[in-house]
Symmetry: C2
């Protein structure tokens, strides 16, 4: 069973976010990274990570080049415009903000579930965090040693 904070993101999203940060980091140095290097760096299963990267490519969050010396990258100028919400939407679909905390089919201001209002500010804060956090700042924090991708 899930644990709220622990599984705030699905595994797929976790890997997708970490991979994107690592790709961004290397793209600043004009280095394309391979699936193998990514999986090793973020400590994720290679084949599963491949699927997620394919999703991100399809949604134009990252780009890929096939063949020898190929790999994944993000256009440098675009890194700061890639938001966490884009990554999550690409992987988990885009109905992130519409759902009900208790799974009601209809849950809104006029027909709220028991925790609707309790969750309101949390939901809004999460939404704005995801929409305002971009890959650039996350990558810079890794580079400076302020945060980590592993352990």
């Amino acid at each position: 069973m899930y644990q709220i904070i622990i599984y705030m993101f699905s595994k797929a999203c976790e890997y997708g976010i970490k991979a994107s940060i690592f790709i961004a980091l290397n793209s600043y140095r004009n280095v394309r990274v391979s699936l193998k290097a990514i999986a090793k760096e973020i400590n994720s299963p290679e084949a599963f990570t491949a699927k997620i990267l394919q999703d991100l490519v399809r949604h134009h969050v990252i780009s890929s080049t096939k063949g020898a010396y190929g790999g994944f990258e993000i256009e440098k100028e675009l890194i700061s415009s890639v938001k966490l919400s884009h990554i999550v939407n690409a992987i988990d679909g885009d109905s992130i903000y519409s759902g009900c905390g208790l799974g009601l089919h209809t849950c809104d201001e006029s027909h709220p579930c028991p925790v609707h209002h309790k969750f309101k500010s949390i939901r809004e804060e999460l939404k704005s965090m995801l929409e305002n956090t971009n890959l650039e700042e996350l990558a810079l924090n890794i580079k400076s040693g302020a945060s980590f991708l592993k352990m």
Copy 2:
């Protein structure tokens, strides 16, 4: 794949919370409710709901009486002391607040994952919401028609 807000709680937790509210509501009127009545009211699969209720009984969140005219109830005086966090802990385990948003094994102030600080206030708000919201207020809102268990 999960969707952050939609699956903030597992299905098991969703059912557990809704069931607890319904039980509380009836316990105020000294009425014991059966599994069947609960599942019908909260729109959940009966057998699965039974497992969850068993968990809640084992953790003393609710109490049960076997046999004819049996069912589930919560001692009236205790309703206001049952917090959402108790229900969630009983069902999903009690490591709710310790996990990392990106699944790192060690993630804390001195070794944070890339989103650790971004999540900090959200995590804290969620924690305090769960620990401070009790069954009484949720039940009263249902009774007054301010919120709903179904649809």
